[in-house]
């Protein structure tokens, strides 16, 4: 009898714990965050919340040029980093997509940057970029170039951070695309050989369309992560020089945990979430359209 009763609630008992935990640690805080975004509350001064309506949003969107600066920095970061990772990753994946010996070893090497702590990646690149003792300036000097202040020069700082991101995530992109390539059916290729198609034609007419769902997912994953970038910026530049590397998540962090304007930080983090949500929806729409075809 007991057993029968338990069986009736089986779906609930299986799914319940996960949903309960997620409700508690995600939904409850999210709602809290919403409420907080309409209030002013300084964590340092303590005291109560003061309801301020849409003021936090208005300030971010209408009266804060820095918000748009950091949005622009974020967008440049995402587009350049993910764009280059995709192109390089695709080339590497196409090159590796052949019955090579020791492919396992190559994959192991490729997966190393992906599994590395972003903080360690930051430290490594800070070491390489160091103007006085960095290896990059050393190699440049061998070819007669003058040393550059990679992270200190306002025009170089953002590209330098993007370079580190490219180092860490291009292999990941390559691995996903490689897996996608290896899952493609063989038949269309056999047909294209019979038809005498060139390599480029085969890629454009067969590989690319078939790979498109994988490409969309890979891009989506990386875009989402690149939008949230924090650790690398924290270690490499701290948002500087000036605001040249101040991405949205770093700017929000400063409002919350350096200036303790919790309400404003909550509002900005929800704006960041909204931007991400819209981008995700657009991608998913294309993904579904691609799957139905």
């Amino acid at each position: 009898m007991m057993k029968r009763n338990l069986e009736k609630f089986a779906p609930l008992l299986f799914i319940g714990p996960a949903v309960f935990i997620l409700l508690f640690i995600v939904i409850f805080p999210m709602v809290y965050s919403w409420a907080l975004s309409f209030a002013e509350w300084n964590l340092m001064r303590g005291g109560d919340w003061r309801f301020v309506g849409l003021r936090n949003y208005a300030q971010a969107l209408l009266h804060d040029p820095h918000f748009y600066t950091s949005l622009r920095v974020t967008l440049i970061y995402v587009i350049l980093a993910v764009g280059i990772q995709f192109l390089l990753g695709l080339v590497i994946a196409l090159l590796l997509n052949r019955p090579l010996k020791r492919v396992g070893f190559l994959r192991t090497v490729l997966v190393i940057p992906t599994t590395m702590t972003p903080v360690v990646v930051g430290i490594i690149w800070r070491l390489l970029y160091n103007p006085e003792l960095g290896t990059i300036n050393y190699f440049l000097s061998l070819f007669g170039f003058r040393p550059l202040s990679w992270l200190g020069d306002p025009s170089l700082a953002l590209p330098s951070v993007i370079m580190a991101d490219i180092w860490q995530w291009t292999p990941f992109m390559a691995l996903i695309l490689l897996a996608g390539l290896q899952a493609l059916p063989r038949e269309p290729y056999e047909a294209s050989v019979v038809d005498g198609a060139t390599t480029l034609q085969t890629f454009r007419l067969i590989t690319f369309p078939l790979l498109l769902p994988t490409i969309i997912v890979a891009l989506l994953l990386r875009i989402m992560d690149a939008f949230k970038i924090f650790d690398l910026i924290f270690i490499l530049t701290g948002g500087g020089p000036g605001m040249t590397t101040e991405v949205l998540s770093f700017y929000t962090y400063r409002f919350g945990f350096k200036f303790f304007h919790m309400g404003r930080a909550a509002a900005m983090s929800l704006l960041l979430f909204a931007i991400l949500f819209v981008i995700t929806q657009i991608f998913l729409k294309y993904y579904r359209a691609g799957e139905e075809r």
Binding site: L6, V120, T135, A183
Partner: protein, 277 residues
């Protein structure tokens, strides 16, 4: 056939060269970190960089005195292990439930769980910080274990779902007919069948937790500090302690690299399944 041979040879050459470039590009930066970690502070600050030097390993011992590195390692290990186990248990049950039981809005529920993973950490960290502060849990290992559930559980559910979907239903149905409860079926039949999936998921959640920085930075002080946070402590007002920071960095990444090499197959499979399905 004969005519094609030189062409294939050239292609192989080009491929070989490109592979070498890629691998030098991938391996050179961590190699430099390792090199710096076995230099004395004096050698580490020398320019042009010295390539041939008397390697020292004292930095590795010294970091345990400069910062509470043993405690940091223990914290990282405990937090990553426990949050992985929680994610595996809760996640596998939810994933199984979502693939096996028919109920209304099952699709919406799956999507909702996935969408949690999209939340930018900086958006989640403010309310979770306040929540844990009110529960007086800040600066404990538990606070990080709880916080890491926000990304580990959705990830585990999503990845394991695709593994459960691959099990033929008949196997479980015969168990149910034999009088097993759904729990017995789950633990005795389904779970062993997705062992590779569990392994891949576990490896990933472990890596995510080991590498996490933002939550750890904000929610821990001295007691529960994890390895990534303590690494930033070598950047001091007086300058960066390069060789010590490098040694700590090597110790932070070494377990992951070792781990990766051991389970390379599962990792790539999990990576790609998680990404593509």
């Amino acid at each position: 056939m004969r005519k094609h041979r030189p062409k294939i040879k050239t292609v192989n050459w080009i491929l070989g060269i490109i592979s070498v470039i890629v691998f030098v590009f991938v391996l050179f930066p961590p190699f430099m970190l390792f090199l710096t970690s076995i230099k004395t502070n004096l050698d580490a600050l020398r320019f042009p960089p010295v390539w041939i030097f008397q390697p020292v390993f004292t930095n590795y011992g010294e970091i345990f005195h400069l910062v509470p590195f043993a405690r940091n390692l223990t914290n990282s290990l405990i937090v990553a292990t426990v949050s992985t186990l929680v994610a595996l248990l809760v996640g596998s049950m939810a994933a199984y439930g979502l693939t096996r039981f028919r109920f209304r809005r099952a699709k919406d529920l799956s999507f909702w769980i996935l969408s949690i993973r999209m939340t930018p950490p900086v958006a989640a960290v403010i309310p979770i910080f306040i929540l844990l502060r009110n529960l007086r849990l800040l600066d404990t290992q538990l606070s990080l274990i709880i916080a890491y559930c926000t990304f580990n559980i959705p990830f585990a559910v999503w990845l394991l779902r695709s593994f459960f979907q691959e099990i033929p239903r008949e196997i479980e149905e015969s168990a149910l007919v034999d009088g097993c409860s759904s729990f017995a079926t789950f633990f005795r039949i389904a779970l062993p069948l997705v062992a590779p999936g569990m392994a891949a998921t576990g490896i990933f959640t472990f890596i995510f937790s080991w590498n996490e920085f933002l939550f750890a930075l904000i929610m821990t002080g001295t007691r529960a500090q994890t390895v990534p946070v303590v690494l930033t402590g070598f950047i001091r007002e007086t300058g960066i302690m390069w060789s010590h920071m490098a040694a700590a960095g090597v110790l932070a990444m070494a377990p992951m690299i070792l781990f990766t090499a051991l389970v390379q197959k599962n990792l790539v499979k999990g990576l790609t399944m998680g990404a593509i399905k």
